[in-house]
Amino acid sequence: MQRINANRIYLTLIIALVFQILPWSGFGLYIHPDFVLLVLLYWILRAPKLCSIGTAWLSGLVIDLATGSLFGQNALAYALTAFFAVTYQRRLILFTVWQQTAYVFLLLIVNQICLLVLKLFAGGENPGWLYFLPCISGILLWYVVAFSSVGSHGKSKNN
């Protein structure tokens, strides 16, 4: 069984960041999932000691800087989402894939709603229902990743 070290977490976060800042255009902008958040949630469920609310908050700050949005906006949303993930982490790792997927979907929606509230406070406009498309694409991606990781998890248990 391989141990998770912090470097691996940071490396995957950086890769997720590169995915996040890919030059999306057109409809891709509406559907592209929040890669960094997905990677964060993955590590929060797998290694809550190494990756927790603080890591989420810092990654949120990096996203704020990279995307040019209001400083601290994504940081707050990520911290809140990470909090909900950490609180139920012990139960979550015992869930089946479907239950886990449903819970992660809820977390993605929480993140999106938190961002929406902050943007509306900052004087943004109501974006409409398309705003929640990243949750759906995100959960599809999560499902693929969770499937593969649960598979390896089962194997390691057998070992």
Binding site: A66, G72, L76
Partner: protein, 314 residues
Amino acid sequence: MDQHESPSFFIQGPSPFSRLVLFAALSISLMATDSRLHYLNEIRQGFIVLLHPFQLIANIPSNAFRSASEYFISQKTLRNENSFLKEQALYQNSELQKLGALKEENDNLRKLLGTAKSSSQPVKLAEIMYMGRDPFTHRIIINLGSRDGVEAGQAVIDSMGVIGQITRTYPFSSEVTLLTDKDLAIPIQIERNSLRAIAFGHGRDNTIDLPYLPGNVDIRKGDKLVTSGIDGIYPTGLAVAEVVDIQSNPNSPFAHIVCNPIAGIENHRQVLVIGFDKRNVDLENNIESNLKAESTPLKSNSKRNSPPKSHATH
């Protein structure tokens, strides 16, 4: 997976909730600092420089795709395009000859009248790197930054008309707020009768609004809006938009006028950044201080029924 080996039943360190409270407080204070006090611009600029290599990596796939598709372009398309461009150059050259004579004449007339010469503003060619991250704000990122002399407040145009205004500069890139963004205002003039007004982006469906005009205003469908040039940012006479719909509501003293931008706001890769007119340095400082102050959001302006003085608030 290591926590399965040694599950810790007790939470170590501060509880998740107290951590959340701490980080939430931190981010709220950061948001307040960023939106009201503008202390964090330097940090943002420095970080963007650090992020630049990652951005270049992220741009590789799309650049490779584009160059590949350019490589496999057929000879016929190239030939067609070439002949079209030659034809266009011919027409434009003949127009240009007339323009030179007219300019000379205009300068002479201005000299006779004793007014200042209309100065030309320097222009730089920039390329759009990518659309803004947030599909619900209308921003694009171009490849010229403060190192190339681009400053916040400068106008950005394409071959057909105005696209928007630079709202934030980084060393290697800058952010352009498009005309259709809710937070961008542009002083315009109706080409037909030189009526001056200020146009605002509508935000949602790529249109531009003309608020603050009375219900009986002399505007018709199909009227062309051009820049008035009184702000010293946009040169005079650039095409901005075309009126597509006018509704006058008896309950409101103002007409509801909807316009479509003329420039291909989402079609081009190359745009031109127009530098400031040297005579208008004072004005530029004014705008910059407005940009920095940013304390009057457009909402309060629209309640006041008077056009705001700043041309860009973001």
